[in-house]
């Protein structure tokens, strides 16, 4: 239990720190604080996507229902974080580029990620039979991974983009990260990841209990 309280306090400190320290990007100003939240969200959307792929591979090898649960949970959490990253990204885009949406490569790739999550749950809804549903969605989760990875990590670097491609060492934007900024961003990444793991385990326990109850009936 203790670590949940530690997370609670640390999250509180992080949120306060992200608002009372100087804005991370001086040229953009106050609105650039959003990046303390936007980057962890985008990061977790990708982490969830990879988690789901790994559990899908494990499901196809071992055929345990709990592994399929975890793949589905990772995708559900990924969908939440991808929506959050898309919305915060669009807000930041409106402030800095003037439009909410302009098909920047980064926006294209998060949009595709959203589509894959959506397609994954459409597939789950359309297949009957627990084992068949699990196998089909596992295969889709693995199959969608390589093209999405290409779109996320290769495509933004091939096409000119307004999105700061690497915030930490970007020279054109003269984004010299101060120690304050770096430590808040790093803390935010770590805390959000811990939050993600916590949510993931909670959901896995709920699924397990539901399954046990179904089997009792």
């Amino acid at each position: 239990m203790i670590w949940q309280w530690v997370l609670f306090v640390a999250m509180g400190v992080l949120i306060v720190m992200s608002f009372i320290t100087p804005a991370p990007q001086q040229q953009i100003g106050e609105s650039s604080r959003i990046f303390y939240y936007h980057i962890p969200q985008a990061w977790l959307a990708v982490v969830a996507f990879a988690t789901s792929m790994i559990y899908s591979i494990r499901y196809l090898k071992r055929r345990e229902a709990s592994l399929d649960d975890r793949a589905a949970i990772a995708n559900a959490l990924g969908l939440v974080f991808a929506i959050l990253a898309t919305v915060t990204g669009a807000m930041f885009a409106k402030v800095t580029w003037g439009t909410y949406w302009n098909w920047d490569p980064r926006q294209t790739s998060i949009f595709v990620l959203l589509l894959i999550y959506g397609a994954y749950f459409s597939l789950r809804g359309a297949v009957t039979g627990d084992e068949r549903r699990a196998a089909m969605s596992a295969v889709y989760s693995i199959f969608a991974f390589p093209p999405a990875v290409f779109l996320m990590f290769v495509f933004p670097r091939l096409t000119p983009s307004l999105h700061p491609s690497d915030t930490i060492v970007d020279k054109n934007m003269k984004f010299a990260m101060t120690t304050d900024v770096a430590s808040i961003l790093f803390g935010s990444l770590v805390l959000f990841t811990v939050l993600y793991i916590w949510m993931f385990n909670l959901a896995a326990r709920v699924y397990k209990m539901e399954r046990a109850r179904r089997e009792d009936d």
Partner: protein, 227 residues
Amino acid sequence: MPVNSAGLVAKTIAVYAKDVRLEFRNRYATSVVLMFAITTLAMISFSIGQGSLAPRLLAALFWIALFFSAMAGLSAAFVREEESGTALALRLKADPTAVYLGKLLFNLTLLSLVTVVVTPLFFVMTDAATDQIGAFVVVLLLGVIGLCAATTLVGAIISKAAVKGALFSVLSFPILITLLLMLVAATARVLDGQSFGGILMELQGLFAYSVVMITASLMLFRFVWRE
């Protein structure tokens, strides 16, 4: 399971020949895909009217037409097996790799046929032109292979689901965006008069895409097929 390669080739060809013969009897997939392609082309041509479009727009419209045609018919190869109840017999007779390769070849044949009809019609109807025929054909070929590489496995997945038609495009589109973006970029450059040198990066990407997707399909297909 180890398969001797001569047996694999023979079985692949057998599956392919079976599908071609079936298709020849009722021409279901061919007529649907062709009619769909012609309808889409007519829509595009109607809405453009007399004006001429920039290469990038033409390239996008061209691949949208082919994308929708592919969505209309490429799932037929597997859906037909499930609907006529022949999947079980095929599962007993042939190993998954041969089935996948046979279906892939069948889809390639079908989409190539459509492309051969659609491409000249497209040039006539939209007044597009290019003198880089060679580069255009290579992009076209890689596009057809890429579309089939990604959608054959998805066709197998949706043949096990309840709502087949709509689900096929929903599942395929996110996987195909990567391919379509490269295809539109390459085709736009070719229509703009650039030759192989100008589209080298896209060609590498297209080639890699097909290789990766076919490899992934070969690894994953048996899990779909045995359900």
